[in-house]
Symmetry: none
Subunit: 200 residues, 4 copies
DNA sequence: TATGAATGAGGTTTCATTCAT
DNA sequence: CATGAATGAAACCTCATTCAT
């Protein structure tokens, strides 16, 4: 593994653990096994390192997204598909990877407006596109009332966001089982909470 | 307005804008219109000031919650009630108050584990209790399939969380109309996304 | 007791305990039972207060000296008189009063050259005069070889100084019984350490 | 000379001149010819620097002691030996080195109880041991009534202490010739102040 | 390229002193 | 006279960044 990547890997750990301001370049260097000055041979400043770290940390999330996107069109859109969608996400959420990055993005977006934009362009926008595609497909096939939320596809992301942040903040006070939680959401989203539905 | 409150008001602004580490006590003092040393007459340290600020900032949210709790039992639980619930929240979210505080809590919970707990105990736990009460009432009256999400009442908070954070992070890239978004969520939650539902 | 004296009494305690630099005017005021501003009605500054405190603290030592001086001429000068002299001093040393003041003078004489002078003029010079008188009297009466140390009367103060500082610094590591120690010194000074003495 | 020693040398000067509290790290750094931050590369804090300074300053005194200890057993114990003992000390006292350190120890022992202990263990205890050895040797050889002060060997240090502090505090008001003074003390100690001694 | 000792700007905190009440 | 809230200068210490080796 080259030195640049060793530094990036060390840096993401420290930034996630301490936040931007509390991260010392010394600690990054030590964790990467290089001297302090070496970091500056690869990254112009702490700020530049941070931005590179974020860019780098979004890669696995983007890849997970692309992978899901690739598989999307091969299956019908129905309740079962929605459940499968969340089940895949659940596994990824459990790794803790997206949560740590997301918290970092939320925390530092005030100081680095750029990273909110990067996150949006890299993760959110493609993710919404993916969801829109699914919703349209379901609507066309008549298996899914996708038009209902066509303008707000992010409603389907909301429970994921909650799960991710819950694990970061409240897991110690009231544990949340991500898989079960997302399954519940999928049930509710598919069937609705009102028992007697007016027939259209 | 007394000096302590002037300092708290100045501090919340600066903390929200810059985060804990980048907030300089000088700036808080200046914004509050007092000398640097005066802040220390009221708060023992930057850390103590921050904790007081969080405590103080949660008050209006807690009050909003309590207000909603008071009205809750007078009305039937049905689709209309759920929509009204989100409409009230929407107005509050639009003020930007809960979003700023939430971002601060998320950002600094790594450095101050206590504030995640405070937030949980002050806002989340009572909020969940409130929701559970509504779900049970609806279930008993037969107007609401509350048992479906009884174990995960936070599904109903998920869209609020998303709206709050969206405004903080992505509003500039893709604006979100909180009221419409929550309305859409309520529709979906009530009626479900699957057109043909098996009758119970 | 008037307020000025209450402040002086509080101040000597705090100065002795903490030293000049570590003494806070707040603590002096609180210990004196007055408000912080009140101290400044009586003493122009911390420095002025300190000088007044030293002046004030030397009074009892000076009085003890004067008392001894008054009694001095009524008795013959011999070994017994020397032992009585140290016995009186011993009692005073045991009170801890002169030790605390002396340590303060030694400690702060770098910052306040004036207090070394005050101490010299108030305590040392009169003390030496007292001793010189005794030595002369003994020499005249032939009961004391006072001329031997006539030029250096402070040799007789040396053991007192040692005892005083020992109690301040080393009492915890190796206790010193002031009375016995001074008695030993007096024996040595009177009889000498060399067994076979040439007869004069 | 390495940087650590340059800082120590600068620091002892400033600490001696100003005392602990009034010493500014900036001044130490400037005097050592390094930047402020550099001091902290070698000493963790002002307190740590001070302790190192004391430790360092005690070294020459301890060495002087050890040197005297080495020579002690080669010569008989008599009046001449005692005079020689004080003459050696006199030369050392005149350098001003032990006086400055001793004043610092006395001044700051309230704030740093540890340094009184260090001083005791490093200087006083070995010094007393040295003196006890001499006294015992003299007693065994019959040339010295060492048993008289066997329990209080520090009487022989008392005039040294006085000379050291006199130079620090009162030299300007009444100069003291250390060599003559100690010589006088030795005379008195050897021969005694009482002309007619009862024969044992 | 790599190192790590050195730098110095800048932040938190303390506390003597003032002054309106 | 008395108060004590307010002031702001000044001190310790950190850490991003540089540069001689």
């Amino acid at each position: 593994m080259n030195k640049q990547d060793r530094i990036l890997d060390a840096a993401i750990d420290v930034f996630v653990q301490r936040g931007y301001a509390d991260t010392r370049m010394d600690e990054v260097a030590e964790k990467a096994g290089v001297a302090k000055g070496t970091v500056y041979l690869h990254f112009a400043s702490k700020e530049a390192l941070f931005e590179a770290v974020i860019e780098n940390a979004l890669a696995p999330i983007r890849e997970a997204l692309e992978f899901m996107d690739g598989n999307a069109h091969q299956e019908p859109v129905d309740a079962e598909a929605l459940h499968r969608f969340y089940r895949k996400i659940s596994g990824f959420v459990e790794t803790g990877v997206p949560g740590a990055v997301m918290r970092l993005v939320i925390a530092e977006s005030g100081r680095f407006p750029g990273i909110a934009e990067t996150y949006f362009k890299t993760i959110i926008e493609p993710g919404l596109g993916h969801l829109s595609g699914i919703l349209d497909k379901g609507a066309k096939e008549g298996t899914f009332r996708g038009e209902m939320i066509r303008e707000h596809p992010m409603v389907l992301i909301a429970p994921v966001l909650l799960a991710v942040l819950w694990k970061q903040l409240f897991q110690d006070f009231k544990p949340l089982d991500t898989a079960q939680f997302l399954d519940t959401f999928a049930d509710m989203a598919c069937q609705g909470l009102i028992p007697e539905r007016k027939q259209p």
